[in-house]
């Protein structure tokens, strides 16, 4: 299929890799000519998913985190996967302010931000097997064809 592009990333679940992960995804999506705002949205969402994998999925042990990206026309698909402990009740975990680690100053806003800043979010998880967060971002949604695009 034309107008598609793919990228995969495997890295250690260290907190120092959080910025590497979001910057890499941001760089990958530049081909879609996104606005600064759209890039920030994706960076925040990727950061949330990766942070979740590190803190909750692997509980600070070092294992692999997998990111798969795909662009199709004007849409970016991002998947963030860990093979960690998984989530027992995904619905509860996605509630705003829900957190299992308040002692670590977790705000419980991770999934809420992913939902707010992306155009689609689904979470597949199995306890003991791991979690995959699938997100979608449509670039240039509110942009009309005849208006000049911001630099």
């Amino acid at each position: 299929m034309e107008n598609t592009n793919e990228m995969q990333l495997i890295f250690d679940s260290r907190s120092s890799n959080e910025s590497f992960a979001r910057v890499t995804v941001a760089a990958f999506m530049t081909a879609l000519n996104p606005t600064v705002e759209e890039v920030s949205d994706v960076k925040t969402a990727v950061s949330e998913a990766v942070t979740n994998a590190i803190i909750h999925g692997y509980e600070s042990e070092v294992h692999n985190i997998y990111i798969r990206c795909r662009t199709e026309e004007r849409t970016l698909y991002v998947e963030v996967e860990d093979k960690g402990r998984g989530i027992e009740d995904v619905e509860a975990a996605m509630e705003p302010l829900f957190t299992t680690k308040p002692e670590l100053d977790r705000s419980g806003m991770g999934f809420s931000f992913m939902e707010a800043f992306m155009d689609g979010l689904s979470v597949v998880s199995e306890p003991g097997k791991g979690t995959t967060v699938k997100m979608k971002k449509i670039v240039g949604k509110g942009r009309k064809l005849w208006t000049a695009q911001p630099l």
């Binding site: 907190s15 979001r22 949330e48 803190i55 806003m109 931000f113």
Partner: protein, 103 residues
């Protein structure tokens, strides 16, 4: 990370990117300063901050809980539109005042 202590007021100059990685550092350092200097007021300065995620919100919430117990307050300055949106979404604006430029 840069901090400023004036009497019982601590200003935290937040970094360019506020994520889980450096939130840990701010948490440890600021709690140390709060204890040692009998801090009652904390100002979060977002002037340099271009990126923030829920870990940053967590740092604010955590410091608020600590300082509230001691009868203190937290506030934020130099927040951009995006920061304000995130703070509002998470409900932090109910416990923290955001000062605008000219106040």
């Amino acid at each position: 990370m840069k901090y400023q202590v004036q009497e019982n007021c601590l200003t935290i100059f937040l970094p360019h990117e506020l994520d889980h990685h450096n939130a840990e550092e701010i948490r440890k350092e600021s709690d140390h300063l709060i204890e040692r200097n009998h801090i009652r007021y904390i100002i979060f300065d977002f002037e340099e901050t271009a990126f923030c995620d829920s870990s940053g919100i967590g740092v604010i919430m955590g410091r608020y809980k600590r300082i509230y117990m001691l009868g203190g307050e937290v506030c934020a300055v130099h927040t951009n539109e995006r920061m304000k949106r995130m703070l509002t979404m998470s409900g932090v604006t109910k416990i923290m005042h955001i000062y605008e430029e000219d106040e």
